[in-house]
């Protein structure tokens, strides 16, 4: 897991209290489509990503396409940085 994924993973587990153990969360674990993250938590995650990585989401970018796994989140961050 990259350092970006480590940071996001720590936020998901510690702040959003994702109901999985640290070892169960992989780079490809579906987050939104599996309902591990509810819609409010997804919005909190967006706020965290914007602050932590100094990026901005446009309204249409808040979607499963960019948020459904640690891999997708990392790809979105790298594209924006």
């Amino acid at each position: 897991m990259s350092s970006i994924q480590e940071t996001v993973s720590a936020y998901l587990l510690n702040e959003l209290n994702l109901p999985v153990k640290a070892g169960e969360l992989s780079s490809t674990t579906p987050l939104l489509s599996s309902r591990l993250i509810d819609s409010i938590s997804a919005l909190l995650l967006v706020e965290f990503l914007e602050k932590e990585f100094n990026i901005q989401f446009q309204p249409h970018e808040v979607s499963n396409d960019n948020l459904d796994s640690l891999d997708l989140i990392e790809a979105f961050i790298k594209e924006r940085q």
């Binding site: 109901p19 999985v20 599996s34 309902r35 591990l36 819609s39 409010i40 997804a42 919005l43 967006v46 706020e47 989401f57 309204p59 249409h60 808040v62 979607s63």
Partner: protein
């Protein structure tokens, strides 16, 4: 005008060139185009539909799903909107319970459903660029239940016994509300309405029919976009929306996450909210931001549609903590208070269960005469619905909501019978007993959380992920618990029933 069909046909002929519906992807349809699309659906249905037949619509929100609804109405059927995201088992139950004659759906959904009887006819067709499927069932299977002659649509709500129940709404039930809204809110063909609520939710009746009764335009907001408050704020600006009707949960999400400073909201003239209590602090913040708009609280269970309303006006008192009243009766409704077993006319200081009579009261629950008899009573020759809502009447005869007399709760405007979640939990092979309670959290207790307690056959805790996955096979997303608590034994009352107060107290 006596039917929704007449209302639709009149709009089609009066405003053929007005845009009737927009999708967020930019697609749109004029009233004229919608007339053609709905007529093609009606043409397919007419040969085998009679006036009390139910036609289910199980489609994501789009112009083609609206054309299917209007097509069913034009063919003389009652429509039955299903939640396309609900578990297949739940929708299959509803199809069987309602004895639907037909369903209009997607090819994927047509393959997934498991109705009690196999369809005898299947036909694929294309509508506004979407591939759809029509399934039909035989009449011998349909005619087994009693249906009112002027049934317009059926909306299923959560049922305490574990099965959803179908609320039968007639054309006259619906039209009194639609016409009153059009007058009260001075709707014109220049208005642009939001359609936030899904079509299986009663807020959609206002969005669809009040708008088209005056030739206004409706912006269809799909189920994914509804959860994106940033997008919702942008949509108001992009489409110059004038009338926004949403639950307080959606409006609070827009305040908290919508980044309102980035957008213009000058077009908004009317904000309507319903479905749950709107805490005063966020409501006042919204009123400050959208100060040019009029705000109304609409109240009413699915069984009566909107039956009371309250216009928010005057200065904002920042110290006020008690929610605004649900207001006074709409002209087509009468409200009474059930004190003990005695219905009473409103007078200041009265407290009890709210009873609603008048033209909008449902025909009854489909295929469920016992439940209908329990909650519909006759008072002075008028059919009244016992809402289960506990209220009090203030000195101005405005009605204030202050709780429920049973275990039904509201979350994001959706009614949830906690008993339905319990029933679903009981079907898990390792769960021996279950008790579900709710608690209010967050600022002013405005967030409703559901907590499921359970005992297991094995005595072991079951993984939360597994429980969530299991329940999604039985209940819609909005009914999923927020927490699961494993107990060796669920506390019981002296009569061996689940002791809910003890469960709540343990939180």
């Amino acid at each position: 005008m006596n039917t929704l069909r007449q209302l639709i046909e009149e709009a089609f002929s009066c405003f053929p060139d007005h845009v009737a519906f927009y999708q967020l992807d930019g697609d749109s349809a004029t009233y004229g185009l919608l007339a053609e699309g709905s007529e093609s659906v009606a043409g397919m249905l007419r040969p085998f539909i009679k006036s009390t037949d139910r036609v289910a619509i199980c489609l994501p929100k789009s112009i083609s799903s609206v054309a299917c609804i209007f097509g069913a109405i034009k063919a003389g059927a009652a429509y039955l909107p299903l939640d396309v995201d609900a578990p297949v088992g739940r929708n299959s139950f509803i199809l069987s319970d309602a004895r639907a004659s037909a369903i209009l759906t997607t090819p994927e959904w047509a393959n997934a459903i498991t109705p009690a009887h196999p369809p005898y006819f299947v036909r694929s067709f294309s509508l506004f660029g979407r591939e759809l499927v029509l399934l039909q069932w035989k009449r011998s299977y349909q005619d087994a239940i009693e249906i009112p002659a002027d049934l317009a649509y059926i909306l299923y709500t959560s049922g305490s016994t574990g099965k959803p129940k179908g609320v039968m709404i007639t054309h006259s039930n619906a039209l009194c509300f639609i016409h009153w809204c059009a007058d009260q809110f001075e709707v014109t063909s220049r208005d642009v309405f939001s359609s936030i609520a899904p079509f299986h939710f009663d807020l959609s009746i206002f969005d669809l029919y009040t708008a088209i009764s005056k030739g206004a335009c409706v912006v269809l907001i799909d189920a994914v976009s509804v959860k994106n408050p940033m997008l919702l704020c942008e949509v108001i600006q992009r489409f110059s929306i004038t009338c926004w009707y949403a639950t307080p949960t959606t409006l609070k999400m827009m305040l908290r996450f919508g980044r309102m400073d980035r957008y213009q909201f000058d077009s908004l003239r009317l904000i309507l909210f319903a479905g749950e209590v709107f805490p005063v602090a966020p409501l006042n913040e919204l009123r400050s931001r959208w100060s040019q708009a009029q705000f109304y609280n609409l109240y009413g269970p699915t069984e009566t549609n909107v039956c009371t309303y309250f216009a928010l006006s005057g200065a904002i008192d920042s110290h006020q903590e008690e929610p605004f009243p649900i207001g006074t009766a709409c002209p087509y409704s009468t409200c009474y208070i059930l004190v003990g077993n005695d219905p009473q006319i409103l007078k200041p200081g009265l407290e009890g269960e709210l009873l609603v009579g008048g033209q909008s009261v449902m025909a009854g629950y489909l295929n469920n005469p016992d439940r209908s008899a329990e909650c519909l009573l006759d008072f002075n020759g008028e059919k009244c619905y016992c809402t289960g809502d506990l209220v009090r009447v203030d000195k101005n005869l405005a009605i204030h909501y202050h709780g429920r007399k049973d275990r039904m709760i509201k979350r994001n405007g959706y009614r949830i019978e906690l008993g339905e979640i319990e029933s679903a939990l009981h079907t898990h092979p390792d769960i021996s007993e279950a008790g579900v309670v709710h608690q209010q959290k967050g600022a002013n207790g405005s967030e409703t959380q559901i907590i499921a307690f359970y005992g297991s056959q094995s005595g072991d805790e079951i993984s939360i992920v597994q429980l969530q996955e299991f329940l999604t096979g039985f209940v819609p997303m909005y009914m999923l618990p927020d927490q699961y608590v494993h107990l060796q034994e669920i506390p019981k009352t002296s009569t061996h029933k689940v002791n809910y107060p003890a469960l709540s107290a343990s939180l």
